[in-house]
């Protein structure tokens, strides 16, 4: 009898395997690695500006008592250009947007905002992704909601679609 049971064991193991395959297939294809910094205060940083007219960005600019949107972008990033109108719409509705430009040159950045508009109140240059890593971000563009105490509350990976403008405004509201 014992041997009989052992003989069914391979089938039982396979059913376990097959179940994991079914689960894996039914899950939407999710290659994104979400930040683990949600609910955690942004580590201190101070990023230089692109010039004198738009100021740079430091951790102190986040902990001002009011929530902010922090948008990671770059002049070399095509999806960033694609989401520019949505950022303009957000700025028009009063959302305070702070920009962090990744691996970028000041001149390129100037050309970018001249062409696509400037929804940013401040722009910090992050040449070696240190601040991005501190946010737990992994791609461009990415947008975070940071509350008035400097705690990260929400992460949007990838370009903001038209339909997602409302989501971000709502996330800003819950963070305040």
């Amino acid at each position: 009898m014992k041997r009989q049971l052992t003989l069914w064991l391979p089938l039982a193991i396979f059913i376990g395997l097959a179940t994991s395959f079914v689960l894996g297939l039914r899950k939407p294809d999710d290659r994104l690695v979400p930040s683990h910094m949600i609910g955690i205060t942004v580590p201190g940083f101070a990023l230089p500006a692109i010039g004198t007219d738009i100021s740079g960005l430091s951790a102190a600019d986040l902990a001002t008592g009011k929530p902010h949107l922090v948008n990671f972008f770059a002049s070399w990033c095509v999806p960033c250009a694609a989401e520019a109108p949505q950022l303009q719409a957000l700025a028009a509705q009063g959302a305070p947007i702070l920009g962090i430009a990744l691996r970028d040159r000041p001149a390129d950045m100037r050309a970018f905002i001249a062409r696509y508009g400037n929804p940013y109140r401040k722009i910090g240059m992050d040449p070696d992704s240190r601040v991005q890593i501190n946010f737990g971000g992994s791609g461009v563009p990415e947008t975070f909601v940071v509350d008035g105490k400097g705690v990260i509350r929400y992460q949007k990976i990838g370009p903001i679609a038209d339909s997602e403008v409302g989501d971000l405004l709502a996330a800003l509201k819950t963070a305040s």
């Binding site: 930040s35 910094m37 070399w76 691996r103 070696d128 992994s138």
Partner: protein
Amino acid sequence: MLSVPLYADSTMPAAQLANVQLPDPAQEAKAKALMETLRCLVCQGQSIADSNADLAGDMRSLVRQRIAAGESPEAIRAFLIARYGDWVSFAPPIDRTTWLLWAAPVLFLVAGGALVAGRLRRRR
């Protein structure tokens, strides 16, 4: 029309120490061993030690700078896990979700050994 690939890369040169070794061979060896066990976030199948992605370069730069500053490799791993979760490390921790993974080799050996031993005794 200017045609640009969908996900263009930065035109900036790589960050400091992203593609250059540390002068101290012992420190470089430590950094290299650590980098080989950290997963690249962009081209997800590779470690940051063998990835061409910009972010992987920036992470190599971060690892080398911290090692050069005297930080221990495990502290740097913990720093990155705090930001990206266990996903970023190719060395799974031993915890509530992964104990079975680490116990599996022993379990397999015991089960297989029992199967063989049972057969051999009967064969005597």
